[in-house]
């Protein structure tokens, strides 16, 4: 699995101190993907969808904590300024300390979430969502940015 492979490499990195301290890494592994959208038909991607959910890997000093927040777009922007609504439910985000997509703690991506790094110092964040194209949705390419913010403590 891509997330695990990536974190394995970064875990090796994190295991070695730098300047007497340990590094942190936040990585976008896979974008949230909705595939083909049909006008008027909402498309839902659940956070447990291995192929289409958004996936991030977070590496940090084991036992420490960090605050996770998302900056989410309300719409995607397309040709000529056309917009396509994007919504996120109260359990559309998930965190897995073991980096197992089947073993997540769900959380609201519109709220902050406190994570504790595992003994291996790694974890994965997953994101689902719903795209709601209008019946008269204009054809073309629509884009937006999803931002994951990770604030490490102390």
């Amino acid at each position: 699995m891509k997330t695990r492979w990536y974190s394995l490499a970064l875990t090796v990195v994190v295991a070695t101190p730098v300047f007497g301290q340990r590094p942190i890494a936040v990585t976008g592994v896979q974008s949230l993907s909705f595939g083909t959208l049909l006008p008027g038909v909402p498309t839902i991607v659940v956070r447990t969808d291995a192929a289409q959910s958004g996936q991030f890997t977070i590496i940090g000093p084991h036992g420490t904590q960090a605050q996770v927040t998302f900056t989410l777009p309300a719409v995607l922007t397309g040709p000529g300024g056309a917009t396509l609504p994007l919504t996120f439910g109260g359990s559309d985000a998930g965190y897995s300390q073991s980096q197992n997509i089947g073993s997540q703690i769900g959380f609201d991506p519109k709220q902050s979430f406190l994570i504790t790094f595992s003994q291996q110092g790694s974890g994965s964040v997953f994101l689902g969502g719903t795209a709601r194209p209008a019946p008269t949705q204009r054809a073309g390419a629509y884009t937006a940015i999803i931002t994951l913010n990770v604030a490490s403590f102390p």
């Binding site: 007497g20 084991h62 036992g63 940015i145 999803i146 102390p154």
Partner: protein
């Protein structure tokens, strides 16, 4: 091999991966007033360049009404605040980190001349944005195509220390509540001295014989006043009287010992009655 050299060697040996983001070290920056400078190392372990932007803001860990730890952001800190965000600069502020390469960001502090002794804080934001990741499952004939770009923002603490710095913490209002199969523990923590209290909290539930039934340990950073909530898994506890002990100490595994300000351990305990 020196630790830094070994780390770089490991980084350079990292596999090529189709992802975006950078490795940042260290995870907290301490700047001494005698040198007024420090550095942050970025490494891009990916196969695509990563665009990085660097900025600062003033914020610190605090707790919300439920006791969860959050970063409290102060948009416009006044002159009496302990913000260093206005006078620490990063060079460069924008850069591109090539694939499998590393870059150094230098931090330079220019504090006001009359700055009193103490510790001042800022949060360093490192935003990394790569190219748009491939959208899987989008057929070429799709009438409506969607491409979402991922951006990651890593926020680390920056501590500027001038002159004699010392820290401590007071613990009050220790209380507990049985919630399902857990024991919720809350206490009011107030920072003392002129520097943040960076340490660890250790909670332990013992029975009348002193036997430990459940315990937890968590890192803690007290910048002003906070009331964190901890949860101890207790399962089906038999009715009776127990004691909850909470200890705070400045030991931290993730920080070099010379960076952690020592302080006398603080502890309190409270009786827990299970009906």
């Amino acid at each position: 091999m020196k630790p830094t050299g070994l780390w770089v060697a490991l980084l350079l040996g990292a596999v090529r991966l189709g992802a975006q983001g950078v490795v940042i070290a260290p995870h907290a920056v301490f700047i001494d007033a005698r040198t007024r400078s420090s550095a942050v190392l970025l490494y891009n372990p990916n196969t695509e360049p990563v665009e990085v932007a660097v900025s600062f803001f003033f914020g610190y860990p605090a707790t919300d009404s439920a006791g969860s730890i959050i970063v409290r952001t102060v948009e416009h800190p006044d002159s009496t605040s302990l913000s260093a965000a206005g006078w620490i600069q990063a060079f460069p502020r924008r850069l591109t980190v090539p694939p499998l390469d590393r870059q150094t960001i230098r931090l330079l502090a220019s504090p006001p001349p009359s700055l009193p002794d103490g510790e001042y804080w800022a949060r360093l934001v490192i935003s990394a944005k790569g190219g748009q990741l491939p959208v899987t499952g989008a057929a070429d004939t799709a009438r409506v195509k969607v491409g979402l770009t991922l951006e990651v923002r890593t926020i680390i603490g920056v501590f500027y220390r001038k002159g004699a710095v010392h820290t401590g913490v007071t613990l009050s209002g220790l209380r507990t509540a049985v919630v399902g199969d857990s024991l919720a523990v809350r206490a009011r923590l107030t920072q003392q001295g002129n520097a943040a209290y960076i340490g660890s909290a250790h909670a332990e539930l013992v029975d009348s014989t002193g036997k430990t039934l459940s315990q937890m340990k968590a890192p803690i950073g007290v910048y002003y006043t906070m009331e964190p909530r901890y949860a101890l898994l207790i399962g089906a506890l038999a009715p009776g009287r127990y004691r909850l002990r909470l200890d705070l100490s400045t030991g931290r595994d993730d920080l070099a010992p010379e960076l952690v300000l020592p302080s006398t351990p603080v502890r309190d305990s409270v009786e827990v009655r299970v009906p």
